[in-house]
């Protein structure tokens, strides 16, 4: 790896210039300074048997190379109902992708490949989605209109997602503020990508068509942690119905972020809410950096409509390029192009995200839009590169272009057919830099960074579904659905606060939808709230995290367990020892578990009598120093036989007194 010192220095200088702070060190003041703003689109799969618009089963997944047949398609932009073409659609059309769908007979029928029109909407899914809409305090529509939302990336073989609004203008209540909801829609899930290399993209159709809801919030969040809280809340709300899927991929979210003067950028497919804070923080500062680039360019360039890049295709004689990527490229028939970007000196190495610079913005777009396969770009301001700055300069100098001191240069390696799109893409992104922050969707990574995914689609991509009729939602139907709705999450939160249960346990309890269990332990079995809270929020969580279970644990067994202990006059703390056995063997009888853990019923008196015996033993082993260890050691010796026979707290008091 070669370093370019001046580029690196510029990266650091610009990072400082825009006032970047890491998330660890950032305060609300920093977010207010850059005008942090964020909203959410939370997706949740519904737990139905069948898909939304056909009768294929839901939740059966196949391995990437396990398929029975393949179908190939191309997508072409069509106009919206209002007669406009969508920007994303045009971009995807430019990419000229061959899209292959892999079908497996168990999980796909002719509907998935768009060879059969949709069947009537899955009523089970509609009912679940409407219940969640009611919980989200949305205004429920009078009639559901299936709408087509264009997706030209191929993730849906029709080229659009069938989706419908169920409610608008709702709200959720976080402990410290209310968040407004724009809408909730029911929609079909998309395909899962197998690979995307150059002009070939491959999808699996197993997940396609799974019923999904999307809850969209207003951009009411003003710092990264709030976004995560809001997202958790919506996910808990969805799960509180007990009618949604859980597990990997069942819940995903898109996060919209902007900063003051910036624009809405959508970070797609964030799988874990814990990634949200870092991602939104970085995105807000990326936009803040792009605005600084805009300022610099506006000073340097008078009129952007007169700005033009220059490029030259270098002669393809392999001898010119002694070895390495350029020689390989020429031999494989690719072209090497030198591109001059007037006035872009020190812009390419301008900070955008941690370890990323403006040049990445160009690189990412070339990869997606022009379908170039790395390595395809080198430039004059690489922080680190496989090629030395000198080598890069040598290649650039093979061209006859003339460069001014304020210019920056790129070297692009591309198949001949992609030259036009590549050059257009570079030019387009540079012009956008002059104008500020482009509307786009970005793909997220667990390290908190993002890359360009596609141009952000607008309302232009909506079109009524001419294959399906509107579905009226009469009052009587909604009344029926609104029976026995679960509590509001915020009410559960407040109740747990009231019980004095530590906040650390809430996420687990709410995310597993076991508030009901907690409540029953406390109200039916009269178990002390702090113990019940600890048992679920700490002991159950620990065991669940550490035991390898063959099947999903039925949490209701915990209620039965405590009930059993209480009825048999056994101290409830024994549940802690029984739980791992119970989880591993959920069908074992409680009596049998007692014998497996070798529980012996001993009278409390007998245990208390043992204290003095154990005390003597301590003196024998460790001398006469009676410090804190002393009590702990004695507790340790007695604990095993005591648990279940005498409350540990009582024993502890006895040991201290003794």
């Amino acid at each position: 790896m070669y370093e370019n010192r001046s580029a690196k220095a510029n990266y650091k200088k610009t990072r400082k210039e825009i006032g970047y702070v890491s998330r660890k060190n950032a305060s609300q003041k920093d977010y207010d300074r850059i005008g942090f703003m964020s909203g959410l689109e939370v997706h949740q799969q519904l737990d139905t048997k069948k898909k939304l618009f056909c009768n294929c089963p839901v939740g059966m997944y196949q391995k990437p190379d396990d398929f029975d047949a393949e179908v190939i398609r191309h997508m072409r932009p069509t106009m919206s109902e209002l007669g406009e073409y969508d920007g994303t659609a045009l971009m995807e059309f430019k990419t000229r992708k061959n899209i292959t769908y892999r079908l497996k007979k168990e999980t796909a029928c002719t509907y998935e490949v768009d060879d059969t029109p949709p069947f009537p909407i899955n009523k089970e899914a509609l009912g679940i989605a409407l219940r969640i809409s009611m919980l989200s305090k949305l205004n429920i529509v009078g009639e559901v209109h299936i709408t087509r939302k264009q997706y030209l990336d191929g993730s849906i073989p029709t080229g659009f997602q069938r989706t419908a609004i169920l409610g608008v203008k709702g709200e959720i209540e976080l402990p410290y503020k209310k968040i407004n909801l724009i809408q909730l829609s029911i929609e079909e899930d998309s395909c899962r990508e197998v690979s995307d290399i150059g002009h070939e993209r491959i999808y699996r159709t197993d997940r396609l068509g799974t019923p999904l809801i999307e809850t969209v919030t207003e951009p009411d969040f003003v710092n990264p942690d709030e976004v995560k809280d809001g997202c958790d809340y919506i996910r808990f709300l969805n799960r509180s119905t007990g009618l949604v899927k859980t597990g990997i991929g069942a819940g995903r979210q898109d996060v919209n972020v902007s900063c003051k003067g910036g624009t809405r950028v959508e970070i797609k497919g964030v799988a874990h809410t814990k990634w949200i804070p870092e991602l939104t923080h970085n995105e807000a500062f990326r936009q803040w950096s792009l605005l600084n680039i805009k300022r610099i360019l506006n000073k340097r360039i008078d009129a952007i409509n007169k700005w033009k890049l220059q490029y030259e295709i270098l002669p393809d004689t392999p001898e010119l390029y002694k070895r390495g990527v350029f020689k390989d490229a020429v031999i494989s028939g690719k072209k090497i192009i030198v591109v001059n970007l007037p006035y872009f000196k020190k812009i390419l190495s301008h900070f955008t995200q941690p370890n990323k610079v403006f040049a990445n913005e160009i690189f990412d777009r070339l990869k997606v839009i022009a379908c170039l396969i790395p390595p395809f770009m080198f430039h004059t301001e690489e922080l680190e590169s496989d090629l030395s700055p000198k080598k890069i300069k040598q290649i650039i100098d093979l061209s006859s272009l003339e460069f001014a001191k304020t210019d920056a240069q790129l070297i692009i390696i591309t198949p001949k057919d992609d030259i036009k799109t590549a050059i257009e893409t570079i030019e387009e992104r540079c012009i956008m830099a002059y104008e500020g922050v482009p509307n786009e969707t970005r793909k997220s990574f667990s390290d908190g960074s993002t890359i360009f995914e596609r141009v952000l689609p607008g309302a232009e991509r909506m079109y009524p579904d001419t294959d399906s009729a509107p579905i009226p939602l009469p009052e009587t139907y909604l009344d029926e659905l609104s029976k026995d709705l679960p509590n509001q999450i915020i009410d559960n939160y407040k109740q747990m606060k009231k019980w004095g249960i530590p906040e650390d346990y809430y996420t687990y309890i709410l995310s597993k939808n076991i508030f009901g269990l907690l409540k029953k332990l406390i109200t039916d079995l009269k178990i002390k709230p702090n113990y019940a809270g600890k048992f679920i929020g700490q002991i159950l969580k620990y065991n669940e995290g550490h035991l390898k279970l063959n099947e999903k644990f039925n949490y209701n067994l915990i209620y039965k367990l405590f009930d059993f202990l209480l009825k048999n006059g056994i101290e409830i703390e024994l549940a802690e020892r029984m739980l791992p056995e119970l989880m591993a063997h959920p069908r074992m009888e409680f009596e049998s578990i007692l014998s497996v853990i070798k529980f012996k019923k001993i009278k409390p008196k007998q245990i208390l009598e043992n204290i003095s015996f154990v005390k003597d033993k301590f003196t024998l082993l460790k001398g006469k120093n009676k410090n804190k260890d002393f009590v702990n050691w004695i507790m340790g010796q007695l604990r095993y036989s005591a648990i279940g026979n005498i409350p540990l707290n009582e024993l502890y008091q006895a040991v201290i007194k003794n």
Partner: protein, 461 residues
């Protein structure tokens, strides 16, 4: 023009719109018992109920608001949508073939129709170029809308108009003709044009789409490109249907107009040549013949047009237990020809014999085809067949039922003379019946059979 203000609304919904003085395309705030809604009022499809108002909300989605729940409504603005496929002048490129596209109302390029909620076609060369710019690399295009009807509404009047137009265009000197057509009765039109327009010097290609062009995955654009290429460049000067080979976006097939049939209600690869192999395979760059015996393209401008059709010919699809009154009624209603679609080798039950005999006596021309679609009528094998023939039912060889019906209608449009009718029906115009059935003329693979599954996994469907 007050109707236009409330496009498609009727009954209660119309009353509500009028009460609050809100128009279609009006931006509106609505207060309801279910909460507030904001959006633009859209036209409503005529067949939908009168209990809901359709709104486009700011996120681009449509919703319906129940009029019974409305408490108040206010128009805050007005913005009418301008739905128009961008029209760009179709460029003329020297050296490219000149192709004429005749429109009948198919879904080659289409836009939304609020009246029915379905799609209506867009058509001019400019519109087509706006939607499928690649066409300009294939041919120099001219278009003419002959009429605009849905495929299921095509009939004798349209057949005759189309045949005459084709004749004129050929005389004017085009390199090929493409006819945009809905797919439901594409095979009927293909058959009738084969009989009406004989010995054309240039290709006459019928094309449609199974997925309307208002969706990104539509087969319309690619079908159109294939058809234009075939019309402009193919050496085969016959009436043909050009539609997807596999359901994948890979290649199209050219089918002879008399032997083609729609075999699936919604698949893209629905059109198949029956009892034979297709004429050729077509891509955007080449036509590769599959059959070698085709009528070749010629330089002359000669063509024979026979625009005749008798609309008193019916088709009777036999079912077990059919009663003779069906036939009696047809005869009494003045039908002059009947094409039976019989079971097996071409049979109907004995109960019908007297009615058939009666029809024969009344001079009704009767032909027999088979429900099996594939295979020949063989009426000598069983007594029933012989009995039928003795009562005037003529076996129509391996003519497709629809093709036989079309041909008999066309023949009876020209003559009622039994000898002439017989002679014309027996004169093979373009493989409406074939002397031989090749071994690969019947291939309906059985999914699930291991060897078939292996094949399907390897070849794009």
């Amino acid at each position: 023009m007050s109707n236009d203000l409330f496009q498609g609304y009727k009954g209660d919904a119309l009353k509500v719109l009028k009460k609050y003085n809100v128009r279609v395309w009006g931006q509106t705030d609505i207060k309801t018992k279910r909460g507030d809604f904001t959006g633009t009022v859209l036209p409503r499809s005529e067949n939908d109920d009168d209990q809901h108002i359709v709104l486009k909300i700011p996120t681009g989605y449509n919703i319906g608001v129940d009029v019974k729940t409305i408490i108040d409504m206010m128009e805050t603005g007005y913005k009418k949508a301008n739905y128009k496929i961008p029209e760009k002048e179709f460029p003329i490129t020297p050296g490219l073939p000149k192709v004429k596209l005749l429109g009948t109302g198919g879904t080659i390029a289409s836009r939304l129709d609020y009246r029915t909620g379905a799609v209506i076609p867009a058509f001019s060369p400019g519109e087509l170029y706006g939607a499928v710019p690649e066409l300009a690399d294939i041919c120099n295009l001219e278009t003419e809308k002959v009429f605009a009807v849905f495929s299921e509404n095509m009939g004798p009047k349209q057949y005759i108009a189309l045949a005459k137009t084709i004749g004129k265009e050929i005389e004017k000197g085009v390199d090929g003709i493409v006819i945009g057509h809905g797919t439901d009765t594409l095979q009927h039109t293909a058959a009738v044009l084969t009989f009406m327009v004989q010995n054309p010097p240039v290709p006459i290609v019928l094309v449609g789409s199974q997925r309307s062009s208002d969706r990104p995955s539509s087969d319309a654009a690619l079908n159109l490109m294939h058809a234009m290429y075939a019309a402009g460049n193919s050496k085969i000067a016959e009436v043909m249907v050009c539609m997807f080979g596999p359901t994948s976006d890979e290649y199209g097939l050219l089918h002879r107009g008399t032997r083609v049939r729609k075999m699936h209600s919604s698949y893209r690869s629905t059109f198949r040549t029956i009892g034979d192999v297709p004429l050729a395979r077509v891509t955007r760059k080449a036509v590769t013949p599959i059959k070698q015996d085709f009528k070749p393209r010629r330089e002359d401008r000669n063509v024979e047009v026979y625009p005749y059709f008798n609309d008193r010919v019916t088709m009777i699809y036999y079912y077990p237990g059919m009663k003779p009154d069906i036939i009696d009624n047809a005869v009494d209603s003045g039908y002059e020809g009947i094409v039976f679609v019989g079971t097996g080798l071409g049979h109907v039950n004995m109960d019908l014999f007297p009615a058939i005999k009666r029809a024969q006596e009344k001079g009704v021309f009767m032909y027999m085809t088979v429900q099996t679609i594939w295979g020949y009528v063989h009426m000598f094998v069983y007594d029933t067949g012989r009995d039928l023939m003795s009562r005037g039912v003529v076996p129509a060889w391996n003519m497709l039922p629809e093709t036989a019906w079309i041909k008999l209608s066309w023949v009876l449009g020209q003559t009622k003379d039994p000898k002439k009718v017989k002679e014309m029906m027996e004169t093979n115009i373009n493989d409406e019946w074939t002397e031989r059935e090749p071994y690969n003329g019947y291939l309906v693979y059985q999914g699930g059979a291991p060897e078939v599954e292996r094949f399907i996994r390897e070849v794009h469907k």
